[in-house]
């Protein structure tokens, strides 16, 4: 109990003293996770919507696979990305290993199935509602997907936020491909893992609370920006 309190205290001090290291790794966390979120959303939202709209032979199998991919173990993703990007791997020449880019790649792989799966679920209901009209109007596949994405943007927000949450809290994969290098690839979660390893639980918890506060901030920010819950909206 005491440890948890001193963790909160540590978080408080880190924040009020504007600890330079803290600011650096917090910004890097945000940069990596938001980049991953944007890239993953660009891939996953249309794909999830497309899955809701299209009927094809292996649709069931695709959906089951997508759901299963939500469970991609981060460590395995990290390993595979490591092997691909390592000097002896096929993309070794790019020299991306142990850079924030590598971390973004790993996170994109982890959160894309999650976002796509939640998006698919949400879009399925909307598609059931719009189906007859959009078919009747002879819309193209692309138009259907764009219409659903636009009119279902509120539901897609949850998908995006789930993805962001997964990304910002993830540590297994980015530890492997980013290496937790000080001043280069250290982010909040890897720093927490480091402090835990050192047995400095106060600092680890403190960083953890900073991370949670950050997640809350982003969520409240997005919610109030998009006014999702305001009465009288869709």
């Amino acid at each position: 109990m005491n440890d948890i309190l001193s963790g909160i205290q540590a978080a408080f001090w880190l924040i009020v003293t504007l600890d330079a290291d803290l600011i650096e790794i917090t910004l890097r966390s945000l940069q990596v996770s938001l980049s991953a979120l944007v890239i993953a959303s660009v891939l996953a939202l249309p794909f999830g919507t497309w899955l809701a709209v299209r009927r094809f032979r292996y649709r069931r199998a695709t959906i089951a696979t997508l759901n299963a991919l939500m469970g991609l173990p981060p460590v395995v993703v990290g390993l595979i990305v490591y092997l691909l990007l390592s000097r002896s791997g096929p993309f070794g020449v790019l020299g991306l290993l142990f850079t924030p880019t590598a971390m973004i790649i790993a996170q994109v792989i982890i959160i894309t199935p999650l976002i796509a799966s939640i998006a698919h679920q949400a879009m399925r209901e909307l598609w059931a509602e719009y189906h007859d009209l959009l078919i009747s109007l002879n819309t193209t596949k692309r138009q259907r997907i764009m219409t659903l994405i636009w009119d279902g943007r509120r539901a897609l927000l949850t998908a995006g936020l789930a993805g962001f949450g997964r990304a910002i809290g993830e540590v297994g994969a980015i530890m492997i491909v980013g290496g937790n290098i000080d001043h280069a690839t250290r982010v909040l979660t890897t720093a927490i893992a480091l402090e835990t390893g050192k047995g400095d639980f106060e600092l680890a918890l403190g960083l953890g609370f900073v991370l949670i506060a950050l997640a809350l901030l982003v969520n409240f920010g997005i919610h109030s920006l998009s006014k999702t819950e305001r009465e009288g909206r869709w």
Binding site: Y130, S136, T139, T147, D151
Partner: protein
């Protein structure tokens, strides 16, 4: 509006879960006129309209338009029995079919104005369509169907929730549309309305085509006792 479209059904049959819900039907519809599809609840009227429009899967048989399938659908419009509202404002709902046809912004604005006025919803252009009253929804759905000047218009009980005045206005609008050359295929349970509008009638019963013919004949001298009973609001069996 350069070419006309006729359609023919050949042994068209719709089954769902092994149960026959419509057909088999053989039917020819001429390229012009106002066809009224009549029949009791559950007779298959909605199903027939959807089959003609190409949005209901046919289990066997064929539906053949005189123009290619893609072109046929492009120039048709459909008003559903329960109006489907996009989760947007009233004017955005009207603009939608124009937007997806790639019409210029300026023209869209103009046409939306015109149609808001014609369907009498000008004073609620910015209201979310999902908040409209039952009758207002029906009017909006009708305007959204007509705004692309379709060559064939399907209407599934378009006046069910309209008040007397709106019904009259919509009827006038439909006859006007008919006279500019649009083919109309409609269902209604209002026999008076059917009489006022129809040029010919398709009478369905229990998923089968029971009678077909010119409107005047059907209403004045129905050939079968079932049709007679139906027109009187009696038990049809």
């Amino acid at each position: 509006m350069t070419h006309s479209m006729s359609v023919s059904l050949h042994k068209m049959h719709v089954k769902r879960r092994g149960k026959s819900i419509l057909g088999p039907i053989d039917l020819e519809l001429a390229p012009t006129g106002f066809t009224m599809v009549l029949g009791p609840n559950g007779a298959g009227k909605t199903t027939l309209l959807k089959v003609l429009h190409g949005i209901e899967r046919v289990s066997s048989g064929s539906v053949q338009w005189s123009v290619s399938g893609a072109q046929a659908q492009q120039e048709q419009a459909y008003v559903f029995q329960s109006p489907i509202m996009l989760r947007r404002s009233v004017s955005q709902n009207l603009a939608y079919p124009l937007q997806i046809s790639g019409i210029s912004k300026a023209e869209i604005t103009g046409r939306v104005e015109t149609w808001l006025d014609r369907i009498g919803l000008s004073n609620m252009a910015e209201r979310p369509a999902t908040r409209l009253s039952g009758g207002e929804r029906q009017k909006l759905a009708l305007g959204r169907a007509l705004i692309r000047d379709p060559q064939v218009l399907f209407l599934d009980e378009p006046c069910a929730n309209l008040d007397g005045r709106s019904t009259r206005e919509i009827e006038a609008l439909l006859l006007n549309t008919l006279h500019t050359g649009t083919r109309i295929i409609m269902t209604t349970h209002d026999i008076g309305q059917a009489r006022r509008l129809a040029s010919d009638v398709v009478f369905l019963l229990n998923g089968e085509l029971h009678e077909q013919g010119r409107a005047t004949e059907f209403f004045d001298e129905p050939k079968t006792p079932e049709a007679k009973a139906f027109l009187n609001g009696d038990i049809v069996e």
